[in-house]
């Protein structure tokens, strides 16, 4: 399937080796890593976080390394474009690269290069934190966390119904797309535009019908405006909590130590 990305990370999250660990611990680890990575003033802490969380995700949670590497490259095009801009617009220090263009001259200085490197390392550290959560925590386990945050019931029910609906209609989207490809629906740009519009509109109408059917089904089961969720029965143990605390402390110390950067 080339055009529709339906290999959701949630599939892997439901089968990962850390599935049994308390959700709160995993969230503290992932979100804590992200927070420390984006607050760091030197690239050391973000890179430490990136390395440790990658090891945890690939070796302990047993996510295929090939998949993990491919995922790290998803935001690469955004990172590349933005880092190039930062490299050439921020300044200070000694110019290291100068590119003369007909209408302006682009100059990158050593300070700008260090700045770009710092931004890039933060983004990599943050992405590893995000991937850790995405690959080890199934979305269904987040709903009880949302409820304990006292978000409105309507909002949580909407999030749950939306989650379910995604899987229902993505299957239809793939089926329609395949049928269109079989009939040369995307053989030219113009046909492609028409085909994708037809796909989206019939998908919308079918999704709407599904919604009405779902409502009937919910009424039959006495839906009263709140889905009950089974709360987790396991409590986080000290053996789970200690390594997380240790990791976050080392990362935090690395982030706020006045280490020299660049190292020379």
């Amino acid at each position: 399937m080339q055009s529709i990305d339906h290999h959701f990370l949630d599939d892997y999250a439901c089968r990962n080796a850390l599935r049994g660990i308390d959700t709160r611990i995993k969230l503290i680890l992932g979100l804590g890593g992200i927070l420390i990575a984006i607050s760091a003033d030197t690239p050391y802490a973000p890179l430490f976080i990136a390395i440790i969380l990658s090891i945890v995700t690939v070796f302990i949670a047993q996510i295929p390394a090939r998949l993990y590497l491919a995922l790290l490259f998803i935001p690469a095009s955004f990172a590349l474009m933005s880092v190039v801009v930062i490299l050439f617009v921020t300044g200070g220090g000694v110019p290291i690269v100068t590119i003369p263009l007909p209408w302006l001259t682009l100059t990158a200085t050593d300070a700008a290069a260090l700045h770009a490197l710092l931004i890039l390392s933060r983004a990599i550290g943050g992405t590893c934190g995000l991937l850790f959560i995405a690959l080890t925590t199934p979305v269904i386990e987040l709903f009880s966390i949302l409820r304990s945050l006292r978000l409105p019931d309507e909002f949580i029910d909407l999030a749950m119904l939306l989650y379910r609906s995604i899987f229902v209609i993505i299957g239809e989207a793939v089926a329609i797309y395949n049928a269109q490809v079989m009939r040369n629906g995307y053989s030219s740009f113009r046909k492609g535009i028409i085909a994708i519009s037809m796909l989206a509109s019939s998908l919308f109408i079918r999704a709407w019908d599904r919604g009405e059917e779902l409502m009937t089904a919910m009424d039959l089961r006495c839906y009263d405006g709140k889905f009950e969720i089974l709360e987790p029965t396991t409590a986080p143990t000290i053996y789970q909590f200690f390594p997380v605390l240790l990791f976050l402390s080392i990362a935090g110390i690395l982030a706020f130590l006045p280490l020299p950067f660049p190292p020379l």
Binding site: V89, A123, G126, E154, D157, L158, I170, I193, M215
Partner: protein, 231 residues
């Protein structure tokens, strides 16, 4: 156009969370009111949100050959108004981060503001203005969806420029630089999204106008007029 995880430094990621919060809270109230008035609203909103999610994971045929996908929030805003759309966009953005590694948690506030608030508000304003002026709905939808996309990208450029101002020329110079580099992919994409959403709207009016009439997007007479126009 998602800003990737970890890209925005302090204090900008916090500022965008704070700026997005009032819209989401308004959205919570609008959602509660809608659900209390009409019990059918919740599953229908859910499938509409799922539709936006699936739409945003479709790759559009693109001129530049880059990975480009529609934001889909323009359509949501026309159907349900900007506040409800901001709540839907919040859920969709979290799922995009968790399922597809697009966007992230620390940049959620900034992405929500550009994609779930600024874009939909503009789309809604264009749609309402076009409706008052009596312009053909298909044309207004084209502009609403295309501008929702363009505004999203302009706001993203602004967010990056504020966080990373230029040495010479400050925020403005940096804004122009980010805007110029993203424009290469985003301008054609906005036009394509406008076309696709307008065609989607046209097909819905042709095949099942009851949906749009029921939620008050167009009236019975307008739907019949539009269908006669094509016949």
């Amino acid at each position: 156009m998602h800003i990737m995880e970890g890209f925005l430094p302090s204090p900008w990621w916090q500022i965008w969370f704070i700026l997005s919060a009032p819209f989401v809270i308004m959205g919570f109230y609008a959602l509660r009111r809608m659900v209390h008035e009409n019990r059918e609203a919740l599953p229908l909103l859910a499938v509409a949100g799922a539709f936006v999610f699936v739409l945003s994971s479709l790759k559009l045929p693109s001129v530049t050959g880059s990975c480009s996908h529609p934001t889909g929030t323009g359509l949501g805003s026309v159907l349900f108004g900007p506040f409800i759309t901001s709540v839907l966009a919040l859920i969709v953005l979290v799922y995009q981060a968790l399922f597809l590694a697009h966007g992230g948690f620390s940049t959620l506030g900034a992405n929500l503001f550009s994609m779930g608030i600024a874009g939909p508000v503009v789309a809604y304003a264009i749609f309402v203005a076009g409706k008052k002026a009596g312009i053909n709905e298909i044309v207004t939808i084209f502009f609403a969806a295309a501008f929702a996309n363009i505004i999203t990208y302009v706001v993203t450029s602004l967010q990056l420029a504020l966080a990373f101002p230029a040495e010479v020329g400050g925020i403005m110079a940096s804004f122009v630089a980010f805007g110029a580099i993203f424009a290469i992919t985003q301008i054609p994409l906005a036009i394509i999204e406008g076309l696709v959403i307008a065609l989607v709207f046209k097909y819905i009016v042709q095949l099942k106008p009851e949906i749009l009439i029921k939620i008050g997007v167009i009236t019975q007479e307008r739907a019949e007029r539009l269908r006669e126009g094509w016949a």
